[in-house]
């Protein structure tokens, strides 16, 4: 059983139907990347999980407990980092974490110990300034610290890396990766390289439903193109190969640019051996013979179109 299960979730804002029967299952101890365009419903989904928005229909369970809209007990399992976290500017980071500890009902000593650990983790240990003077990146890091304070089973981050500079982004991703052993992470983003760096599972939200779902390897496997890229020593050899009789087949499409030839196979049982045979017949040794790998970006574009 997953730590978070979403069943047939529907949500509409006026005329605009954002979620149309969303189904999702987040297994424990995974880093789950929720990808989608702006306005795809990522934040809406998260707010429903947190009981901040009321779904029109459908249900969400966190750790086997059903989420109730409004006052929900399930939030005690969850740590949440909003897209632009805002804190009380007149407090210091330590004072803020103390408040969070009091609210979640942690003991004073426990709060103190956890605060120090987390401030160390997020690199704010020596920060004595008030939060009001913090930079965006520092607020984001404090946001992670407060989200992890009560050792939640599920950490939800809403676009934690957007609007950060590359160094800030790397730091946040490293912190999330470090949290993986202790908690399950669900984070939304539209930066695909972030997903590839730390996620083990991915879901693409499009048109109010999951358009793509699974582990990163699975998804890539499922959407593998049946095609190859061949690079030759020179343009002439490439042309000879590209124009060879054997490749004039309705299910093979060949494109050549310079000394590189891309061959795509559609709807036939030919495979790499076929091209190797052709190469052997022509006595050509390619410099490179690579199976086409789908990139996350190409997958995303394919799904979203």
């Amino acid at each position: 059983m997953g730590i978070l299960e979403i069943n047939q979730l529907h949500k509409r804002f006026g005329q605009h139907e954002v979620l149309k029967g969303l189904e999702m299952d987040v297994p424990e101890h995974s880093i789950f990347g929720l990808v989608g365009q702006n306005g795809a419903g990522k934040t809406t989904t998260m707010k429903i999980i947190l009981g901040l928005l009321k779904p029109d229909s459908g249900s969400v369970t966190v750790c086997g407990e059903k989420v109730a809209y409004g006052e929900t007990k399930t939030n005690r399992h969850i740590g949440f980092l909003p897209d632009v976290p805002e804190f009380y500017g007149y407090m210091t980071a330590r004072e803020y974490l103390k408040l969070c500890g009091e609210i979640t009902g942690l003991s004073q000593t426990k709060t103190k110990v956890r605060s120090e650990e987390l401030l160390e983790l997020v690199g704010l240990k020596n920060e004595k300034k008030r939060i009001g003077s913090f930079s965006r990146g520092m607020k984001q890091r404090l946001g992670i610290a407060q989200a992890l304070l009560n050792e939640p089973k599920l950490l939800i981050c809403d676009e934690p890396t957007s609007s950060l500079d590359p160094i800030g982004r790397k730091e946040i991703l490293d912190i999330l990766l470090a949290a993986k052993g202790k908690t399950t992470v669900l984070f939304s983003t539209h930066i695909l390289s972030d997903v590839e760096r730390i996620c083990d599972r991915i879901a693409v939200l499009h048109g109010g439903k999951l358009a793509l779902y699974g582990t990163l390897a699975e998804v890539k496997q499922r959407h593998r193109y049946n095609g190859f890229v061949l690079e030759f020593e020179n343009v002439e050899t490439a042309a000879i190969f590209a124009k060879s009789k054997e490749l004039q087949h309705p299910s093979i499409s060949t494109t050549r640019s310079g000394n590189t030839v891309t061959v795509l196979l559609t709807g036939c049982d030919l495979d790499g051996h076929f091209f190797l045979d052709v190469l052997a017949q022509k006595r050509i040794v390619p410099l490179k013979f690579v199976a086409l790998e789908p990139t996350l970006e190409s997958l995303f574009l394919e799904v979203v179109q």
Binding site: K73, P82, C100, E102, N150
Partner: protein, 254 residues
């Protein structure tokens, strides 16, 4: 309960750190000191302004004048300042998103509303107590012989009206998104109370009578018992508004 106490502590800390507490206390303290002073000095000031040859007979200032000043300042400037200071009680937290993080940490929404009302009530009580205390001591010093009647009860009426107004404010804050909307609704509620007073029969039960009738109280031209209805209704409405604020906020989409 732990959430309520923690959040109440945060609220008080917030008013202290953002100087709102200081502003409130200083203004009410200034009122407290100036009330008897103005009453004492006003006839003399006016007297000195008058040109030669004209004589104006001014009645001698009494403790009654000092308390007139007190009730005028506390109900007008005092309440207006209080309402303006508290108008962002919820909207600032909601628009900035500071509250969402705490709510997702398991802080109950009921605790938020109750803590906010408690904090406003504490601050209002402290301010009015300070103002009253200063006026009382100073009036006693300036006009030692004078006595006014029903003073504790009329201050209680003023205090209760403040509590009623804060409940209206809280409900308005829950209903509207901006602090301006909150101010507007609160103002509308006061206007509505004033309009209701047009009906003579309603006067006895109208919460606003608590602040419009108190001059009569200290002059002893109005019987204390005539305000019991208004006290009861104000208390009941305050309770109702706070409960409604809790219920609505619990189901509000954030």
């Amino acid at each position: 309960m732990t959430g309520y106490l923690a959040f109440l502590k945060k609220e008080i800390f917030e008013y202290a750190k953002t100087y709102k507490l200081l502003i409130l206390l200083v203004v009410f303290a200034v009122f407290g000191i100036t009330n008897p002073l103005v009453a004492k000095l006003l006839p003399e000031i006016l007297g000195s302004l008058v040109a030669d040859g004209i004589t104006i007979t001014m009645p001698k200032a009494t403790a009654y004048d000092a308390w007139t000043q007190f009730f005028k300042n506390a109900t007008q400037m005092g309440l207006i300042l209080t309402v303006i200071l508290f108008s962002g009680v919820l909207s600032s937290e909601l628009s900035k998103g500071t509250l969402v993080i705490l709510l997702t940490k398991g802080l109950s929404r009921t605790a938020v509303i109750l803590a906010k009302y408690t904090c406003m009530a504490l601050l209002w009580t402290a301010s009015i107590a300070l103002c009253f205390g200063l006026t009382y001591v100073y009036t006693h010093y300036l006009f030692p012989a004078d006595k006014v009647s029903n003073l504790p009860f009329s201050v209680f009426c003023l205090w209760l009206f403040g509590m009623f107004l804060l409940a209206v404010l809280l409900l308005s804050a829950v209903l509207t998104k901006s602090s301006y909307g909150c101010l507007l609704l609160t103002g509308a509620a006061v206007v509505a109370c004033l309009l209701v007073n047009i009906i003579p029969a309603a006067h006895r039960y109208n919460p606003i009578s608590l602040v419009t009738d108190k001059m009569g109280l200290i002059k002893n031209t109005i019987a204390v018992s005539s305000l019991f209805g208004a006290v009861f209704i104000a208390f009941l409405l305050a309770l109702l508004f706070v409960s409604l604020a809790v219920l609505i906020f619990r189901k509000k989409q954030l």
